[in-house]
């Protein structure tokens, strides 16, 4: 029997895949951006469905709140967003589609053939406080180091952005 959860899952999956497809095919760049966002929200929905609320929230915060806005701004900045993107050559689209479909087929074949074996240990709490403890842990399975490394990465990214963007700004004016 189909219960509510299953329906929701399939709805989310459909949302994700359909809007992802539209994101890569739409010739209206702004719409493509919105579709991408919808697709990412669909993924967040799947995380919710899987009861990984923290990841879902992170996904929404970063993608909806950050990356989408950034992409939209850069669209405004660099495109005449009212005009359609140029049409691609049919051959190119076809070959890309064939390549993607073949890839998909091959991988799925492998996936379905492969018997995954996981643990049968009981699931542990994936609540935020567990995540927090793990993240701050300095021991064997702690993520303290990556946590600090991320800050380095962010620093690097920020400096990179500023260097690049500021240079172009001074140049433009």
């Amino acid at each position: 029997m189909m219960n509510g959860e299953t329906i929701v899952f399939y709805l989310l999956a459909a949302l994700t895949l359909v809007s992802a497809l539209m994101a890569v095919t739409s010739r209206q760049i702004f719409r493509a951006a919105i579709c991408l966002l919808l697709s990412l929200l669909g993924i967040a929905g799947i995380y919710f469905w899987l009861r990984y609320e923290f990841v879902a929230a992170v996904q929404i915060v970063v993608y909806a709140g950050g990356i989408a806005v950034l992409i939209i701004f850069s669209v405004f900045l660099t495109q005449r967003s009212g005009e359609d993107l140029p049409r691609q050559s049919r051959a190119r689209m076809l070959s890309a589609a064939v390549a993607a479909l073949t890839g998909l087929g091959l991988v799925m074949l492998q996936v379905l053939r492969h018997r995954f074996s996981g643990t049968t240990n009981p699931a542990i709490d994936n609540g935020v406080s567990a995540i927090g403890r793990r993240m701050l842990g300095v021991g064997e399975d702690g993520y303290a180091l990556p946590f600090e490394v991320v800050s380095m990465l962010l620093l690097a990214a920020m400096i990179g952005c500023i260097v690049i963007a500021m240079r172009s700004k001074t140049k433009s004016s």
């Binding site: 509510g4 209206q28 702004f30 719409r31 919105i34 966002l37 929200l41 609320e53 923290f54 879902a56 929230a57 992170v58 929404i60 915060v61 909806a64 709140g65 950050g66 989408a68 806005v69 939209i72 701004f73 405004f76 967003s81 009212g82 609540g127 935020v128 406080s129």
Partner: protein, 358 residues
Amino acid sequence: MWSFSKLTDLIHAWLYETFSPAWALALEMVMVGVAAIGLFAMLGLVLVIMERKVSAYMQIRLGPNRVGPKGMLQSLADTLKLLVKEGMTPNGVDRVLFNLAPLVAMIAAMLLLAPIAFAKDFQIWDLNIGVLYITAISSLNVIAILMAGWSSNNKYSLLGAMRSGAQIVSYELSAGLSILTIVVLSGSLQISDIVTSQSNGWWIFKGHIPAIIAFVIFLIAATAETNRAPFDMAEAESELTGGFHTEYSGMKFALFFLAEYINVFVVCAVGATLFLGGWMPLHIGSLDWFNHAMDYIPSSIWFFGKTFFLIFVMMWFRWTFPRLRIDQLLTLEWKYLLPIGMVNILLVTVIAILKWHF
């Protein structure tokens, strides 16, 4: 004492007795949905009339007083009128996104209601990342605004939308930081935990100076995030006429309006929950008679009282201050609020680890 939880339990039990589980669940869902819509609409009506009255009194005038007793039906008349006003779609707009945008705004606003604890044990969904959830969902607003602004094919809308995009996004940081201050103190993201952690005093009292600083930052950031004056860049009337909703009319516009007010309500509710103890009554140390007296006031009244107080403060801001310019607004965030917020977090960490809070 009368409480919501008993009522909901009763209904729940009755439903499951009378109907088969599937039907009961469905019915329950419908009831929650209807209740949510009702709450939503009520809040909208009340907030609109409140805003008008507050502004009127600050502006030495009377405000609406002719529709219904003391003008209380004014916002009802407005709603009805908007309901039967033409909601048109101009040519040349991106029809899909244009019509989708108010819907997105509504969905975002509605979803925000889920984790709010309206009273003792009365919460739609007490999920374990409560406040993070609210932060996440409220960032969907940006998308609604950008969608509306872009799809309107109107220069004012576009400019307004981009402004508010930049603004909401920036102020999310300080809002997040000030929320974190309380999270550090209470050690949980779950709304119910945060409320219970304040049973012996609200965080604004027992969190020392960092909590107060965080509270102020939160108020400012909340005002900015809901696009209200003095941060109403998006619809800066004297510059961009209507901002992102310039082209919207009738109910489509009303939905934005409603969503905006619900957002105001939600951020104030979050503020009340984090800093003012949610539905927790005011308790003073060991003043027992006082505490008992306070306990007699229903928890929902405490919650709404605090929330409406914060809303009033935001209205007070709105009707007092001039508007900031967009660059000043961003400077305020990046030069003042963010560094202060970061230092504040460190401070509160020390306090939390030393257990200096009560």
